[in-house]
């Protein structure tokens, strides 16, 4: 998709939104990031469960 395909309003709104979302203090970045330790732990436990199933 190229800039030329957008009308002016859309492009201006897009730039405004990108600015908000990429600010270092953006709400989304500041709040609620995921803890990857638990994610990794659940994946490892799933494989342990799978291997246990081989012998069950």
């Amino acid at each position: 998709m190229d800039t030329e395909e957008f009308n002016e309003d859309f492009s201006a709104e897009l730039e405004k939104r990108i600015d908000v979302l990429t600010r270092s203090d953006s709400d989304v970045k500041r709040l609620g990031t995921v803890d990857y330790t638990f994610t990794g732990l659940f994946i490892v436990l799933s494989f342990v469960l799978l291997i246990w199933g081989w012998f069950a």
């Binding site: 998709m1 730039e15 609620g32 799978l50």
Partner: protein, 483 residues
């Protein structure tokens, strides 16, 4: 009083614009409800019924929980994290992987699969409603006409809901999802009244392969496939989540735990009754009143799933210019109109359900691996949001004339590898399958090939904006050290 949303706000929710934090509607609770509404549909019971062909309850539970957890977590990492962080649709994000034109490849793959899924769900609605109709009128009909009529009703009702956008989907799920959880418990109790737990554990699979390990891995593979089947829509949905956590962890509640529970109910029923179709066993087991109520809820469960699927699919279709220009109502109508053609062949659609499931592992597993390697390893979670949409001076996501061959080649190699390990139709395969499954090796191959080609060819040519991602990450880390 709440004002009418501006056209730009609507573009954010229904179109390609990134959604701002203040416009996002789903917290953890709401997105959990959406997830539960997605998970507890007839498909989870049907997957359980399919499992009953190969494994008993104990092995089915272990294999399904392991397969579903691995796949849901991996796909959630690859899709929901970038979408919820930047508020962008998954298919806008995919421009950084497949290139701006190349993104059409996963979109087309996804739309084909989703036609099948939506048609299957509509036919299930039709079958459930047809059984209710037969029970209420005390008639026995073998004709497909009633099924087709009710399937069309499901499509019309779904369109009326989805045309109004994510807010109406939100409200539908708030009402229906808790009822569905209650229904799942009631259905389990209906089965428990007839069989105690020890009896359930002794049920034998209906039509297993001679090798127990192979049966177990088939169950694991189906668990992976059912988890990865959510790949096409999760990014589109989680752009509406208020935080990354709200977009990520509810997947574990809905499409993992609730989906596994639903699958287990289907497995027990399939083992007990010897029929994989849940709409067939509810009235015999639950009696005329409870059975009919269960069927009605199952029918509506399918509507909640259809609306979420259509929302995410139509959002993805906006990657293609002719659909981008269509009004939201017209686009959703067009998608459902084409789906309506399929429901005139209910037996063919219903009978090929397992094909949709295996297609998910074949394609969406490798796509997940490519997404994971690109976003977490190569880009270190930094993307150039502006370059995803606009022509910036370096055009990082143009790759080669709009296509990233690294992603395309990796996807093809991984999919071919899958077929060499397992025939997804007959579920027979190489001995390697009994230890590694087919999806997991295909994913490793996809990720490895993608990494190699990117490091060897893409980055040295200065394509893809990888240097910028690394520099930006380095700057952020340096800033943290200074602080």
């Amino acid at each position: 009083m709440m004002g009418k949303p501006s056209s730009n706000q609507q573009d954010g929710a229904f179109g390609l614009l990134p959604v701002l934090p203040k416009e996002r509607t789903w917290g953890s609770f709401d997105f959990s409800m959406v997830n539960i509404g997605l998970a507890i549909a007839t498909w989870s019971f049907l997957i359980g019924g399919t499992l009953s062909l190969f494994v008993g309850l104990k092995m089915g539970f272990i294999a399904t929980l392991a397969g579903n957890t691995v796949s849901v977590l991996l796909l959630a990492l690859a899709t929901t994290i970038p979408s919820s962080r930047y508020g962008i649709d998954q298919y806008v994000f995919l421009r950084s992987i497949f290139g701006k034109k190349g993104t059409k490849i996963p979109v087309i793959l996804m739309v084909i699969v989703e036609f099948g899924w939506v048609a299957t769900l509509s036919v299930m609605f039709g079958k459930a409603s047809s059984n209710v109709y037969s029970s209420v009128t005390n008639t026995s009909t073998t004709s497909n006409t009633v099924v087709i009529v009710f399937a069309l009703v499901a499509i019309v009702v779904s369109w009326l809901i989805v045309a109004k956008g994510p807010v109406s989907i939100n409200w539908l799920n708030r009402i229906v999802a808790p009822c569905l959880v209650a229904m799942l418990i009631i259905m389990f109790l209906m089965l428990s009244n007839q069989y105690n737990f020890n009896e359930m554990l002794t049920f034998k699979p209906l039509s297993p392969f001679p090798n127990d390990l192979h049966n177990y891995m088939v169950a694991f593979e189906l668990g992976l496939g059912s988890g990865f089947s959510w790949w096409p829509i999760m990014g589109g949905l989680t752009r509406l989540a208020k935080t990354e956590r709200a977009g990520f962890w509810p997947n574990m509640i809905g499409i993992n735990i609730c989906a596994v529970l639903g699958t287990m109910v289907g497995l027990i029923a399939g083992l007990a009754v010897g029929d994989s179709d849940p709409t067939k066993w509810m009235i015999p087991i639950g009696g005329p009143v409870l059975g009919v109520i269960a069927l009605i809820f199952i029918a509506f469960a399918n509507v909640t799933s259809i609306t979420s699927l259509v929302y995410a699919t139509c959002l993805a279709m906006k990657q293609i210019k002719i659909f981008r220009l269509l009004e939201w109502k017209k686009l959703t109508f067009l998608f459902l109109l084409i789906t309506a053609v399929f429901v005139f062949f209910p037996d063919q659609i219903y009978g090929n359900f397992s094909m949709f499931l295996t297609a998910c592992g074949t394609v969406f597993g490798p796509l997940t691996a490519i997404g994971f390697v690109d976003y977490f390893i190569l880009r270190r979670q930094q993307i150039d949001l502006k370059a995803l949409y606009l022509v910036t001076p370096k055009k990082p996501y143009n790759f080669w004339v709009g296509y990233n061959y690294a992603a395309i080649i990796s996807l093809i190699v991984a999919t071919v590898s899958y077929f060499l390990i397992l025939n997804p139709i007959s579920l027979e395969g190489a001995s390697l399958f009994n230890y590694l499954s087919a999806t997991l090796p295909a994913m490793v191959i996809a990720g490895f090939v993608y990494y190699l080609i990117t490091v060897a060819f893409v980055i040295p040519k200065g394509l893809g904006g990888y240097q910028a991602s690394r520099q930006e990450k380095g700057l952020v880390e340096n800033k943290k050290e200074l602080i």
